[in-house]
């Protein structure tokens, strides 16, 4: 094995002589780039601005009249708002996979790798931009909910926890999306994640009460991560008892980030060194 063989590790080498602050500056530049992409892609804008409002309107006015909220005793808008908040941020977060796959399969990653920067800032920039735009999308959905008659008695502390949950949720989903975007070999395959993320809230307690579902679906709905998140949001926004939902939510989100970030890092290293 000659000396050339060691170049496999050079792809993500830390630049000597550049401080942590330079990397922070590089990361900021790539976040700005990703947000510019967002602002210039009509379908991304629709996903992040129009979709949250449309989902809210459809659930409250179209389905709302026909769906009972079961034993919860809630009005349907109160019942469904937490799930719609999660849908609003989640779909956009899943698009991170396609954004990363575009950079990885086109020539852009080669350009970034020949620059004197640590190339991990490329996927990291996409993830941070995703968190920013999807938290904004969730806030837009919340404003639409309030305009449609949703009222919350939450305290400042409870609102802060709602925000923390939403940030954690879009961060975990964006990190999973990054992993998927680094795993697949095409932009089309990267889009498949959006389908799963869009579908998951329907199979939770968020849209219709799980107690109305057939037993197999009900078992799935009660044990998948969206359900405790919906229950935690209901508890915080509507003053309902939280039970174990808060801890389960924290566990799911932490696991999502803690597992997907290192795996994504390994995949990224493999993709940029072969």
């Amino acid at each position: 094995m000659s000396a050339v063989g060691t170049a496999a590790r050079t792809g993500t080498d830390r630049e000597p002589g550049t401080s942590r602050w330079t990397s922070a500056g590089d990361l900021r530049r790539l976040v700005v780039r990703a947000l510019r992409h967002e602002a210039r892609t009509p379908d991304a804008l629709i996903v992040n601005i129009a979709l949250p409002v449309l989902i809210m309107v459809v659930f409250v006015y179209v389905f709302g009249g026909a769906i009972t909220t079961g034993s919860s005793g809630l009005t349907y808008i109160d019942f469904v708002v937490p799930a719609v908040l999660l849908m609003s941020g989640g779909y956009g977060a899943a698009l991170t996979a396609a954004n990363i796959a575009t950079d990885m399969t086109g020539g852009m990653i080669d350009r970034f790798r020949t620059l004197p920067v640590s190339s991990w800032v490329v996927p990291a920039g996409h993830v941070i931009a995703s968190v920013i735009r999807n938290v904004v999308a969730t806030v837009i959905a919340l404003i639409a909910a309030i305009a449609l008659g949703f009222r919350s008695g939450a305290t400042v502390t409870e609102w802060a926890l709602v925000l923390a949950l939403v940030v954690g949720y879009v961060l975990a989903l964006s990190a999973i999306a990054a992993l998927w975007g680094l795993f697949v070999k095409s932009v089309q395959a990267a889009g498949a994640l959006s389908f799963i993320v869009l579908f998951l809230p329907y199979l939770s307690d968020g849209v219709v009460p799980a107690e109305t579902m057939p037993s197999v679906l009900r078992a799935f709905a009660e044990n998948q991560p969206i359900t405790p998140m919906v229950e935690t949001l209901r508890a915080l926004l509507l003053g309902l008892p939280m039970g174990d939902a808060g801890w389960l939510t924290a566990l799911w989100l932490t696991a999502g980030v803690v597992i997907s970030v290192p795996v994504a890092a390994v995949l990224f290293r493999r993709r940029t060194s072969a």
Binding site: A8, T10, G11, R33, G107, L115, A274
Partner: protein, 313 residues
């Protein structure tokens, strides 16, 4: 001018057991342009990716700007610019935003990055389109922007991987002008191409690469001399006569050195050796009852060189 900018020794690389490079040696003196000439799949891009630290070789060594590509990749990256085959500019950003982004990532500082972007847009004739998104650019403009992006940090050594593939003749000529200017300003350039004319036009030296190894490495003039001073080209009246003509010439009294048959073009070519040789050749064909439609004596093109070098291997 005797400094060596790029030196590769015995580079080898396999993908999934298939050898792509089998011992590539290259030397590029500082301030010169080497054209790496070869067909698709010959190993041109793999060579460039190894030299630009994007890919690890399986064996061999290489230095770029005096730095080892394997052990000093960061130092190499500070020295080089790369225009890869795939577009390496951002479609959704404007030309100016692209150059400012790369300037920022080279840590030029905000003001310096903006000034450098402006200079490069002027120099590569893109000022009018500076504030338009790259998605609206023509193929030629995009390649010029790609080249400008590679020049942001004023690299001493530039790698251009098939810079003119897919461009119309006018855009190609414009890009050639830009490449000549960069060369005149002292930049060392390694350019890959499948166009023999391009290599002939631009290069100080041409390395012909085929099946993962360098089949020839010389000046364009010397490579042309290798196939003789001129080529005798005979266009036959009937395509079906071509194989028979080949057989007759090989068996006949004339010298059939460098014989090549092209049934599609109804053409038989061989190394030209003066008027007597021409007369003998025509006699052979006449006796074999093969009508000749057109006779041409021409200087060899790099196509001829390429054919000689790669067909023999």
């Amino acid at each position: 001018m005797h400094d060596v900018a790029i030196r590769a020794r015995g580079l080898s690389k396999s993908f999934g057991g298939t050898p792509v490079l089998t011992g590539v040696d290259l030397t590029v003196p500082a301030g010169s342009l080497l054209a790496l000439l070869g067909p698709n799949g010959s190993g041109k891009t793999t060579t460039v990716r190894i030299l630009t630290t994007l890919l690890a070789a399986d064996g061999g060594t290489a230095t770029v700007g005096g730095h080892d590509v394997a052990r000093e990749s960061v130092a190499v990256r500070r020295t080089i610019g790369l225009t890869a085959q795939q577009a390496t500019v951002d479609d959704l950003l404007t030309g100016r935003e692209n150059l400012e982004l790369f300037g920022g990532l080279y840590h030029l500082g905000g003001r310096a990055a903006r000034r450098r972007a402006g200079e490069l847009l002027d120099r590569f004739d893109l000022s009018a389109a500076a504030n338009r998104r790259v998605a609206t650019y023509s193929g030629g403009m995009r390649r010029r922007l790609d080249l400008a992006a590679s020049m942001v940090a004023a690299p001493r050594i530039l790698f251009l991987d098939e810079p003119t593939t897919g461009l119309d003749p006018r855009s190609r000529a414009e890009l050639w002008t830009v490449i000549r200017e960069l060369l005149a300003a002292g930049t060392t350039i390694l350019l890959t191409t499948q166009y023999l004319e391009e290599a002939d036009q631009l290069a100080d030296r041409i390395a012909v690469i085929d099946n993962g190894r360098v089949a020839a490495d010389d000046t364009p003039a010397a490579l042309k001399r290798q196939v003789g001073s001129e080529r005798l080209a005979l266009r036959l009246a009937r395509a079906e006569d071509v194989p028979r003509a080949g057989a007759a010439l090989s068996a006949g009294p004339g010298d059939a050195a460098g014989l090549r048959l092209d049934a599609d073009a109804r053409e038989v070519t061989l190394a030209g050796q003066g008027p007597d040789h021409l007369r003998r050749t025509l006699d052979v064909l006449h006796r074999a009852g093969i009508p000749v439609e057109h006779v041409d004596l021409r200087t060899p093109t790099l196509d001829d060189v390429f054919f000689e070098l790669t067909a023999a291997a």
